[in-house]
C-alpha cells in the first residue's frame, strides 16, 4: 500500500530560500540544498521548490539549485514557478528535477500540459491550482499569478481539464485557508478528489499534526504540502509522521 506523502515546500528567490526558515544548527539558513538535506533527514517524502525570482538571472540561478539538489539528495523533488515553455520543462527535468509544477502558464496556454506530458510522461507534470471560494456564486474559482488574477475557471472543471490534457498530479492550494493554520480545506479537496483519477496534493492551512490526519483520513488526499509549520519548527516532518503512524495512517 502506498504511504501518505508529507511534502515541505521551499520558496526560492535568486537561488536563496526566502521566508526566513528557522532551523538550528544550520550555518546558512538560506541555502536550499542545506535545508533540503534537513528535510530529507527528517523523513520528507518529496520536496517542492517554488522559484519566485522575478529576473532572468534569478531563473538561471534556479537551474544551479536544481542541479545541486539532484546531486546531493536521493528523494524526488518538484520545481515550479515561472515554467512557461516546453524548453523550460526540458531544462528543469534534464538538470535533475523529477517533476515540474505548472500554474499560471497552464491556465494561459493549456497545451503546455500536453506538450510536457507527451515528451516526458504525465508523471512529470504537476498542475498547481490556487482556488478561492466565491461566496456569491457558491463555487471555487481558480486564480493565477500568485492569487492575484481571477479566472473564469471553476476548480473541478479546471482540474478535470488539466488531467485530460495530461497532468499526472494536482497540487491544490486553498487560498481561503492558506496561512490560517486552521486545517486543510476539506470540502475543496473532496470536490476535486471526486472528479480526478490522479494523485491530489493538499496544500494550504496546515497548522498541526491533526490537520494532516484529517486530510488523509477524511478526504483521502495522497499527499500534503506545508511550508511555514515546518520552517518555523512548529512541528517537524518526523513529529507529523509519528503522530500519523500511531493512528494507523501508512507513512514511510
Amino acid at each position: 500500500m502506498l504511504s501518505k506523502r508529507i511534502i515541505p515546500c521551499l520558496d526560492v528567490k535568486d537561488g536563496r530560500v526566502v521566508k526566513g526558515i528557522q532551523f538550528v544548527d544550520i550555518r546558512d539558513a538560506g541555502d536550499p540544498v542545506e535545508l533540503a538535506k534537513v528535510y530529507d533527514q527528517q523523513g520528507a517524502d518529496e520536496l517542492v521548490f517554488l522559484d519566485i525570482s522575478a529576473s532572468h538571472e534569478g531563473k538561471k540561478t534556479m537551474i544551479d539549485v536544481v542541479r545541486s539538489v539532484a546531486s546531493e539528495l536521493a528523494i524526488p523533488f518538484t520545481v515550479g514557478g515561472g515554467i512557461r515553455t516546453l524548453e523550460d520543462i526540458k531544462e528543469t527535468l534534464r538538470n535533475g528535477a523529477d517533476k515540474v509544477s505548472l500554474n499560471s502558464s497552464a491556465v494561459q496556454r493549456p497545451e503546455l500540459i500536453t506538450e510536457g506530458a507527451d515528451y516526458f510522461g504525465s508523471q512529470c507534470i504537476v498542475v498547481a491550482i490556487d482556488a478561492r471560494y466565491d461566496e456569491d456564486l457558491k463555487l471555487w474559482r481558480v486564480y493565477t499569478h500568485g492569487g492575484r488574477t481571477p479566472t473564469d475557471w471553476e476548480v473541478t472543471d479546471w482540474a478535470q481539464e488539466a488531467v485530460r490534457l495530461g497532468a499526472g498530479e494536482i497540487l491544490l492550494t486553498s487560498m481561503n485557508k492558506d496561512g490560517e493554520k486552521t486545517g486543510f480545506d476539506l470540502p475543496l479537496l473532496e470536490a476535486v478528489q471526486k472528479v480526478v483519477s490522479v494523485p491530489v496534493i493538499a496544500s494550504g492551512g496546515a497548522g498541526s499534526s491533526e490537520h494532516f490526519y484529517e486530510v488523509f483520513t477524511e478526504v483521502d488526499a495522497d499527499a500534503a504540502l506545508a511550508a511555514s509549520i515546518f520552517h518555523y519548527k512548529e512541528t517537524s516532518v518526523m513529529n507529523v509522521k509519528s503522530y500519523l503512524k500511531e493512528r494507523g495512517v501508512t507513512v514511510r
Partner: protein, 209 residues
C-alpha cells in the same frame, strides 16, 4: 567501471550523481563502442516504451545489450529500462522488447477485482516484499519503502525472477533478477537509503571492479 547507457531517454544526471556519491567510477556513452569495455552497465529510462526501443536501436544498443547479457556482464535496468528487458509491452500498441526476461508489460487496469477504481499512475513510496533475500543485490535491503512512479507494470508467470514485489491493488514486480541481469521498477537513485544501497550492491558486490 560502470557504463551508463545513454540512448537519449533517461534521467542520467541523477543516476550519475548517485554513483559519484557512492564513489563508483562510471562513464556515460551514447554508442556501444564508447562504453564497450565496462565491467557492468546501467540501463536507465523515462518515457514511452515504443520510443525507447526505437532509440535503443538507433543508438546501436540492442545487439550490444544482448551480447553483454550472454557474456554474463552485470546489467541493472531502471524503471522503463527494466520494462525494456521483457518480451513486449502493450504501451502504444504491442511493441517488442529485448526479451531477456520472460513476461510482458501491461497497463494498470485502474479497477480492482471488486470493481472499484484506483489511481494510476502508481505514484509514491511503497513497501517492498522481499522474496529472495539471499541475492547479493539485496544485501542489507529490508522491507523498506521505495519511490515508484509508473502506469505500466510487469506481468510474468516466472516467480523465480521476482526478487521483491510491492502491493498496489495487484502484486507489482519491484526488483527482478536472473543471474547477472537485474532491474527495478522504481528509481533507486530517488528512493532514499534503501535505493542507494541497491545501487551500491550492484556496483560493488555484483560488479567486480
Amino acid at each position: 567501471m560502470i557504463g551508463i547507457i545513454d540512448y537519449g531517454m533517461g534521467n542520467l544526471f541523477s543516476v550519475s550523481k548517485a554513483l559519484e556519491r557512492l564513489d563508483v567510477p562510471y562513464k556515460v556513452g551514447d554508442r556501444p563502442e564508447k562504453i564497450s569495455e565496462c565491467d557492468g552497465y546501467i540501463l536507465p529510462g523515462v518515457g514511452a516504451f515504443p520510443d525507447a526501443m526505437k532509440a535503443l536501436g538507433d543508438h546501436g544498443f540492442i545487439p550490444f545489450i544482448k551480447e553483454k547479457v550472454n557474456e554474463g556482464v552485470p546489467i541493472y535496468g531502471i524503471c522503463l529500462g527494466m520494462q525494456l528487458l521483457f518480451e513486449s509491452s502493450e504501451e502504444g500498441g504491442q511493441t517488442e522488447g529485448l526479451g531477456l526476461f520472460p513476461g510482458t508489460i501491461v497497463k494498470f487496469p485502474g479497477v480492482d477485482e471488486n470493481g472499484s477504481s484506483y489511481k494510476v499512475p502508481h505514484m509514491g513510496w511503497n513497501r517492498l516484499n522481499i522474496h529472495q533475500p539471499d541475492k547479493g543485490l539485496l544485501n542489507e535491503v529490508g522491507e523498506d519503502f521505495v519511490y515508484f512512479v509508473h502506469s505500466f507494470v510487469v506481468q510474468t508467470d516466472h516467480r523465480e525472477i521476482l526478487y521483491a514485489t510491492s502491493d498496489y491493488h495487484l502484486e507489482v514486480p519491484a526488483i527482478i533478477g536472473r543471474g547477472n541481469l537485474v532491474a527495478s521498477q522504481f528509481h533507486p537513485e530517488k528512493s532514499g537509503e534503501p535505493g542507494m544501497r541497491l545501487l551500491e550492491n550492484f556496483c560493488k558486490v555484483m560488479v567486480k571492479q
